[in-house]
Amino acid sequence: MSDKTYDRQNPAFYALLIALVVMAIGPIYLMLATSLKLNVDIMSDSSSLLFMPTLRNYETALCDFLWYEPEHLRRCDPTFGRALVNSLVIGLVSTAITLVIGTMAAYALVRFRFMGRDVVSLWTLMMRMVPPAVLLVPVFGIWTFQFGIDGSRGGIVLVYVALNLPFVIWILQSFIVQVPIQLEEAARMDGAGPFQVFFLVVLPLIKPGIAAASIFTFRVAWNEFLLANALADRNSRTVPVTIVNSLTEFDIDWGVIMATGMLLAIPPIIFTFVASRQIITGMTAGAVKG
């Protein structure tokens, strides 16, 4: 009886659902479809859902990594391939560095008593409130004129680490607080030094936190445009910057841009999938009497 009333919904509700689905999936479908079309099909006035799908655009974008030479290319342009490598390297390296520094800083802030601890704890988060656009000019100035590391991958990694650290420290603090202090005391009684307590007892228990933080960090580094655009040169450009830079007034190769866009979406999905498997609740179950 109640099932029936549950089943029958206002048609407007379904219309709204469909609209939302179209809004969510539409752009991705358009990107996928365009990436599989020839330029002739893309530019033709009679835009049709029926076309001959081709992987040509992907071949063009990835020509550097192919073991064969695509027939349609006269010359292989390495721009997109290089950008993908740059994005991967910068994303992974900055994530790794952020996590190493972030876990240690968070642990120190939670467990050690030192002067200025509360101030540091508060201000790490406040720093995150500053919009990257505000940082753009000073960072560009310092990176270029003081450090001389503009246009290198290292420079971009450095700014991403600085950008992500506050949030990572903040999120990991809440995970470390939940590790029962008795476990650390037990480890100390068992003969563990401070680093052994950290690496052998605390770190395995905050794995879910580290996974969450790494997803966040990698995603920010992967998508960031503003600072990368200011700091990168031809050889260190990331994918978002490259895509925007390939929209010129002379030639816009929509097919290749959309293919790159599709390729851009894949690594974060894989990364998130792998990392999220580490997010298991109840890591500390059975440690102490609850």
Partner: protein, 357 residues
């Protein structure tokens, strides 16, 4: 197995003084129980011995070494925590071998020792399980096992049985007693349960407000408590306290109160002479009452029949009194019965200082 000495030990938390001038000696291989109500400083004392809590003043000597400022791992101790503190990401075998692996012992030795201890604790079948997959009693045994695999000179226990249900607690208590007989090491055990203290300890240290009220064997504490607090804390059901007056009647001293007058043995006369005609507190253990003719007539208000014994709640001079007697059949409430008390089983206390007279 060195002896342990606490000398003038002191602990402050900021401006709050928790422990002041604590002096205690524990002999080689002795099972010492620190007991007292919560907040009496017993756990803090244990944690200072362990090295988990810093020492504000005084010294902790283990053998000839002053360990007050050493790290826990340099003190040759093993500890069992109140809430187990098992490493949740390691299985039982890994939990137990953690200390040995840190000490870089060779693998086959570790395995042999873990197997050995697991067998004595009945844990062999669970070595591959994670702590989350174990029951409370099993977790407690793993926590014990983790301490036992280490050949430490001294074992510390911080209320290890307080999280178990009554039946399991009894079992584990017996296992602990057997274990301490077998391995004969220094053991320091903290509890708030006087039954645990009485059954396990070679020596019991009763604490209150960071001070030692009395230290001695279980029998000493039971037979001749140094003050009212120890008298009331040790023994179950607890001792009855009544107001009385010391009266000399024809050469015999009486503890005279509302509705009772108990003759005291002549042997105590000398010591009590100074308190004649003064108000005192008397303490009578529930088990010191015996049913018999010619005694005090007392009403039975409530009767708890436990089987071989009954605990009766009665009234004497307007004050509640509990009585423990051997029974064959239950005694009904509402009856009036006669009970006698032997004068040498009456404890006398100074009402001001609460010290035993």
């Amino acid at each position: 197995m060195p002896e342990i000495r606490l000398q003038q030990l002191r602990k402050d938390y900021g401006a709050v003084n928790v422990i002041e001038n604590l002096n205690l000696e524990m002999a080689d291989g002795e099972f010492t129980v620190l007991v007292g109500p919560s907040g009496c400083g017993k756990s803090t004392t244990l944690r200072m011995i362990a090295g988990l809590e810093s020492v504000t003043g005084g010294q902790i000597m283990i053998g000839d070494r002053d360990v007050s400022l050493l790290e826990p791992k340099e003190r040759d101790l093993a500890m069992v925590f109140q809430d187990y503190a098992l490493y949740p990401h390691m299985n039982v075998a890994k939990n137990m071998s953690f200390a040995l692996r840190l000490a870089r012992m060779n693998k086959s030795d570790i395995e042999a020792r873990v197997k050995d201890v697991a067998a004595t604790l009945d844990l062999t079948a669970y070595l591959d399980r994670k702590p989350a997959e174990l029951s409370g009693g099993q977790r407690q045994r793993v926590a014990m096992g983790r301490a036992l695999v280490r050949d430490a000179g001294t074992f510390l226990f911080d209320e290890p049985l307080s999280n178990l249900d009554a039946k399991l607690r009894g079992q584990m208590r017996a296992e602990l007693a057997l274990m301490s007989q077998r391995i004969k090491k220094n053991m320091i055990y903290v509890t708030h349960d006087q039954v645990e203290a009485m059954t396990l300890g070679d020596k019991i240290v009763v604490m209150k407000f960071g001070e030692i009220m009395q230290a001695g064997t279980p029998e000493e504490l039971y037979r001749s408590p140094a003050n009212k607090f120890v008298a009331g804390f040790i023994g179950s059901p607890t001792m009855n306290f009544l107001n009385a007056e010391l009266v000399d009647d024809a050469g015999t001293l009486f503890a005279k109160g509302d509705g009772f007058s108990i003759p005291l043995p002549d042997a105590r006369k000398g010591a009590l002479q100074a308190h004649r005609d003064r108000n005192i507190h008397i303490g009578i253990r529930p088990s010191s009452f015996a049913e018999g003719p010619g005694g005090l007539k007392m009403p039975v208000i409530l009767s708890e029949y436990i089987g071989a014994q009954s605990v009766l709640i009665s009234e004497l001079g307007g004050q509640r009194v509990s009585i423990e007697i051997n029974t064959v059949a239950p005694i009904r409430a509402g009856e009036e019965r006669e009970f006698t008390v032997q004068g040498d089983e009456v404890h006398l206390f100074d009402p001001k200082t609460e010290a035993a007279l």
